[in-house]
């Protein structure tokens, strides 16, 4: 009788206890991994902010880098240059990207659309230094480095991002809108341009902001196309313009402490821009998704 009662005991046997321990261990490994990732993020952001603090003052944003290094000097010309290059790249990539997305969702046969999507995804995953080399061979060899060559290289990086983002929101447009347009006797192109694209404007905009955030931090495409420049403020896009990523890269390779300080300052500016842009874009994206009913 006593033995039978022991068999039905509800307290966990050794086997169950071992399974529980394994389970607990694995769960805490997951928690630790997530904590580690967040910890690294906090560590990097905090380090950049703290180390950048001494460099940040008004002249940092209004002066150009000193020609031969040394203390003083700012990054105003690099901010102007980066804005111009990324702006040009956006102007090249967004129209083409949106058109590609319209073709994929509105016109293409599914199998062809699949092929083009594959091309876009492969393009997206290419090492960006190779993109830089391509543009170097196309526009720089035989000429000189220029801001528009750098912008073209960034546009190649942005194109698949914009196209995929635009395609995703276009796919969310309810087919009732398309059918409604066609049922009213409105032609295809008027439906696309007048009804479908306007409803996706918000989504395309946020996709664009995400692509801009990515492009603003890209250094590798600019290294061979727009890296040897005169550090003063200029808006001449036929010459190489100073820009933030290349500035950080070259300063970080120097042994000079004051240049490191400037690099941290520039890194903070760049990182703040990128993180704020991508966060707002993601928040907006979530909202427009909800609005289109997904």
């Amino acid at each position: 009788m006593a033995a039978a009662r022991a068999e039905f005991s509800l307290s966990p046997s050794g086997h169950v206890r071992r399974r529980r321990i394994v389970n607990r261990t694995m769960e805490s490994f997951g928690t630790l991994a997530a904590l580690l990732a967040v910890g690294v993020l906090v560590l990097v952001v905090a380090t950049v902010a703290i180390r950048a603090a001494p460099a940040l003052d008004w002249s940092f944003f209004t002066k150009s880098p000193n020609l031969f290094g040394g203390p003083g000097g700012g990054i105003s010309s690099a901010i102007v240059g980066s804005a111009l290059i990324v702006g040009l790249a956006t102007a090249m990539a967004v129209p083409v990207g949106v058109l590609v997305a319209v073709y994929l969702t509105e016109f293409a046969h599914p199998s062809i659309a699949g092929g083009i999507q594959l091309v876009l995804d492969v393009l997206n995953g290419l090492p960006t230094i190779v993109t830089g080399i391509f543009v170097y061979g196309l526009l720089v060899v035989g000429h000189t480095q220029s801001a528009y060559a750098g912008a073209f290289a960034l546009a190649v990086v942005m194109l698949p991002l914009v196209a995929r983002a635009a395609q995703e929101v276009l796919l969310l447009v309810p087919s009732a809108l398309r059918e409604g347009g066609l049922a009213l006797g409105v032609s295809r192109w008027r439906t696309v341009l007048g009804v479908i694209l306007p409803t996706t404007l918000g989504g395309i905009l946020t996709g664009t902001v995400l692509a801009v955030a990515r492009a603003a931090g890209e250094t590798a495409p600019l290294l061979f196309t727009c890296s040897i420049f005169n550090p003063s403020v200029s808006t001449d896009v036929t010459h190489a313009l100073p820009n933030i990523p290349v500035l950080i890269f070259t300063y970080s390779e120097q042994p000079d402490k004051t240049l490191h300080e400037q690099a941290w300052g520039a890194a903070l500016v760049l990182m703040a821009f990128v993180l704020i842009a991508s966060l707002t874009a993601k928040a907006l994206l979530a909202r427009s998704r909800r609005k289109l009913g997904r």
């Binding site: 399974r19 394994v22 694995m26 490994f29 928690t31 630790l32 991994a33 997530a34 580690l36 990732a37 967040v38 690294v40 993020l41 990097v44 952001v45 950049v48 180390r51 083409v96 058109l99 590609v100 319209v102 073709y103 016109f107 083009i116 594959l118 995804d121 393009l123 995953g125 290419l126 090492p127 230094i129 190779v130 080399i133 391509f134 061979g137 196309l138 194109l159 698949p160 196209a163 032609s187 295809r188 192109w189 696309v192 931090g217 890209e218 590798a220 061979f224 040897i228 950080i248 890269f249 970080s252 490191h260 690099a263 941290w264 890194a267 760049l270 990182m271 990128v274 993180l275 991508s278």
Partner: protein, 322 residues
């Protein structure tokens, strides 16, 4: 009075012609844009190979196994850089894959509901940090820390294994590069994994739990087998990113043209060698050999991406990859 209908008909037919033209031209323009994207990929391959031609015709495939890179004697071979690329990516993958899968699981299954969104977007923010900023942090903060603390300790305890050799004083080297790459690819793999795990039907998970499985047994028995191919694709995508990263690696890897077993020594990857010599190579052969490295990198990049995308598509034809 009799003019009305015919004018109306005329206007209607004009509009129909206008519509036809509009339809055809919109279709044509968008098709041209789509073709341009495809041509772009072709042009990249053609141009890079074209630039590397002098070196390709001199060395042929023997370039891949050439062990010396000596600009003075003008002898060039890619093996040291292929080795550096493989080893730094391997270090990154070995650390990143388990971490990223664990994060994906935590975000999709284990975390309290309120935390999932916040921690998920924090992990994605890690992916948004520009590589040049991460490299700056790597060279000025992580590198010195590693060379003063972690690497001497590992060298002291495990120095009998040749990969844990004497650390560099500067903290630049393969291991630092591997760690920086880890930070870059963990968020990529983790967010793809999270999406995958969320797609596993709830009924299967609940069924396993109802049969008395613990959560870990449910994960091991249901979720991981169901998403195995997707996880593989996510890891390959991360690998592709690690293999091709130029900037951050250039900043922290130290630069070297020798094949060394020491993980803590300086080295170079294909991408970092190209990036490090952006200010111009001396001889025509050296620069075309650098471009040959770019061509190798391009082929590797195309292959890894293509394989990953094909796997992802077969696994989930609806959504494709990101």
């Amino acid at each position: 009075m009799s003019i009305g209908p015919s004018a109306y008909a005329l206007r209607a037919s004009r509009r129909r012609i206008g519509d036809r033209i509009g339809d055809v031209s919109l279709r044509g323009i968008t098709l041209a844009a789509a073709l341009a994207a495809c041509v772009l990929l072709g042009a990249i391959v053609w141009k890079v190979v074209d630039l590397a031609r002098p070196s390709i015709s001199k060395y042929g495939l023997g370039f891949l196994t050439g062990q010396t890179w000596d600009p003075v004697k003008k002898v060039f071979g890619a093996l040291p850089f292929i080795y550096g690329t493989a080893l730094s990516s391997l270090v990154a993958l070995l650390i990143a894959a388990p971490l990223a899968i664990a994060i994906g699981l935590w975000l999709s299954e284990l975390a309290p509901r309120g935390f999932r969104g916040i921690v998920g977007s924090l992990v994605e923010m890690l992916a948004a940090i520009p590589s040049v900023v991460l490299g700056l942090w790597g060279i000025l903060v992580l590198g010195p820390y590693l060379s003063h603390h972690l690497e001497p300790w590992l060298h002291g305890k495990l120095g009998f294994i040749p990969i844990f050799g004497a650390p560099e004083a500067t903290g630049t080297g393969l291991f630092t590069a591997g760690l920086i790459l880890t930070i870059m690819i963990v968020p990529i793999i983790a967010s793809i994994c999270r999406e995958l795990f969320l797609q596993v039907p709830d009924e299967l998970e609940e069924g396993a739990l109802a049969l008395g499985a613990t959560r870990w047994e449910m994960i091991r028995g249901v979720i991981l087998p169901a998403t195995r191919t997707g996880i593989a694709a996510a890891i390959i995508l991360g690998l592709g990113r690690a293999l091709g990263e130029a900037i951050a690696v250039t900043q922290v890897i130290g630069g070297g043209t020798k094949i060394s077993r020491n993980l803590f020594g300086p080295s170079d990857t294909l991408a970092s060698k190209i990036a490090a010599s952006y200010q111009g190579a001396a001889s025509g052969l050296e620069s075309s050999s650098l471009l040959y490295l770019a061509a190798i990198l391009l082929v590797i990049g195309l292959l890894t991406n293509f394989i990953a995308q094909v796997i992802v598509r077969r696994f989930d034809p609806l959504r494709g990859a990101r």
